[in-house]
């Protein structure tokens, strides 16, 4: 029982490590968007991005 389970587990780890290392891995929050219109280049102000909330610092002692 151990060998098949651990074999699968180990293969998953190795495969996952290889895939994530190749593709890159990040814990950071960001938004991926497909097909951003080419008009952004000419009119950047008209584009409305989908930012993750990034709270503005309102501090200062």
């Amino acid at each position: 029982m151990t060998t098949p389970f651990y074999m699968l587990y180990a293969m998953l780890m190795v495969g996952g490590y290889g895939l994530l290392s190749y593709r890159g891995f990040s814990f950071d929050k960001y938004q991926e968007v497909k097909d951003v219109p080419k008009s952004v280049r000419n009119n950047p102000g008209a584009y409305r991005p989908h930012y993750y909330d990034s709270p503005r610092y309102t501090g200062g002692k």
Partner: protein
């Protein structure tokens, strides 16, 4: 205790008789081999070799025990069909605790005798042996060696026969005591029983799951749960070593992969520009940068730095692939405040931030940057512009994932090792070598 039947000897016969004590009808199933017969009605032990079946001992107790395997019940084993012809309950006291177990005597006219022992739903199939095991330590424990197999000493006790009925090929008596020593090599167990000073018998048991015994006798027997028997096979045996072997093999592969991935990674800087937020500019400040090339495939690390003086800036950034329109959108709020008060100087916030984007393929890219700063009418000394800097690097393959994967990989071998060790700890807790065991001395159990 018994010996195998000579195949050439006459087959024992079945005979009916009456108990001389109570007159109850009895059936002797191993006539010619039985030495003692116990009346199922009054539990008197009779001499089977005596023509008048004289009474050897009487049962003083009141409790009646119903055996799990009824006398006369036949069970099919790989070595033949055996009939249950005798039953005894025995007790021992170890460290103030009375342990009782049952022993079933099985008989096959051609194969001879064997025994089944039952304790807390743990079964052993036992046969007498005639070879004398040699004393030999097993690690730090005393032990014996038989047929190349080492057996570690487990427990010494004085067993007292507290209940018997059926028929036996030796002279049984109510209250008979024997000094016992158990040696284990799971699933095997060697047991010695010493009667008086000289008579020593050895038997070898094999641990059997209840399902095995149940299948042999067509009985539904409960499986042992919760306790670990002396020679119960460790269900985790072999798992840790296999898992550790797999771990080592996987570790080698992972190291090779990490070497290749880290060695061939391309961590070039692909973008490095400074900008200014013009506080005099009214309205939308969003703009796009020039295009730049990203090679290879992987992560992109983007670092943002601003020159802040008790101020804050908000940067909305979109990385856009010029050809495909695939974009990565993120925002960062940068702030840096400092000053002094009665507690001394202080500072808060960070004027820089970084983000890692994953799965960024090769291509031509540009940034759309949307900088913003809060209007501060009172900040007359605020410079007309705030500088900020954006640097993008093709992310290298770090070792973070490697270490995470190694930690995840080592969990199963450690888990299996703990499980196996835990089982062995529970096994030896019941032995003379457990932490609470005062000595290997023991005394006999109580009468009923």
């Amino acid at each position: 205790m018994s010996e195998l039947v000579n195949p050439g000897a006459a087959v024992p016969k079945v005979k009916g008789l009456n108990c001389p004590g109570c007159g109850a009808a009895m059936t002797v199933r191993s006539l010619g081999r039985a030495v003692s017969i116990v009346c199922p009605s009054c539990l008197r032990v009779l001499d089977a070799l005596d023509q008048n079946h004289k009474i050897i001992s009487t049962y003083e107790g009141k409790q009646r025990i119903i055996p799990v395997i009824p006398l006369g019940k036949r069970g099919k084993f790989p070595d033949g069909e055996f009939e249950c012809i005798g039953f005894q309950e025995r007790k021992s006291m170890v460290d103030g605790t009375v342990y009782s177990w049952q022993e079933y005597l099985l008989f096959n006219p051609y194969k001879g005798y064997k025994y089944l022992t039952l304790y807390a739903n743990h079964w052993n199939e036992v046969k007498s042996i005639y070879a004398l095991p040699k004393e030999q330590n097993v690690g730090s424990k005393p032990g014996v060696m038989l047929a190349g197999q080492q057996y570690a000493h487990f427990q010494a006790a004085t067993a007292k026969t507290t209940y018997i009925f059926g028929e036996f090929p030796w002279q049984v008596r109510h209250g008979e005591t024997a000094h016992t020593n158990d040696y284990i090599a799971p699933p095997l167990m060697l047991s010695s029983e010493t009667y008086g000073k000289d008579e020593i018998t050895w038997s070898q048991g094999v641990y059997r799951p209840a399902s095995y015994i149940g299948a042999a006798f067509s009985l539904e027997l409960p499986e042992a749960t919760g306790s670990v028997f002396a020679n119960q096979p460790n269900p985790h045996y072999g798992k840790p070593s296999k898992a550790w072997l797999w771990y080592l093999g996987t570790l080698v592969i992972m190291v090779l992969m990490a070497t290749v991935l880290v060695g061939f990674t391309n961590a070039d800087k692909v973008f490095d520009r400074s900008f200014v937020i013009d506080h005099n500019q009214a309205g939308d400040k969003a703009f796009v940068t020039d295009t730049f090339q990203i090679k290879g495939h992987g992560t992109l690390d983007v670092e943002m730095r601003a020159t802040l003086d008790n101020d804050e800036a908000f940067l909305g950034v979109t990385l856009i692939n010029e050809q495909t329109g695939h974009a990565w959108e993120f925002s960062k709020s940068l702030s840096y405040y400092y000053g002094s008060d009665e507690d001394g100087t202080w500072s808060e916030g960070k004027s820089n931030a970084a983000i890692t984007l994953s799965g960024v393929p090769a291509g031509t890219y540009y940034f759309r940057i949307d900088p913003d700063m809060e209007a501060k009418p009172e900040a007359a000394d605020r410079a007309s512009g705030t500088n900020y800097h954006i640097i993008a690097r093709r992310g290298g393959v770090g070792l973070d994932l490697f270490w995470i994967a190694l930690v995840l990989l080592i969990i199963p071998p450690i888990w299996y090792s703990i499980q196996k060790a835990n089982f062995e700890t529970r096994r030896w807790l019941e032995s003379d070598y457990g932490p609470d065991s005062s000595s290997s001395d023991s005394s006999s159990g109580d009468d009923d």
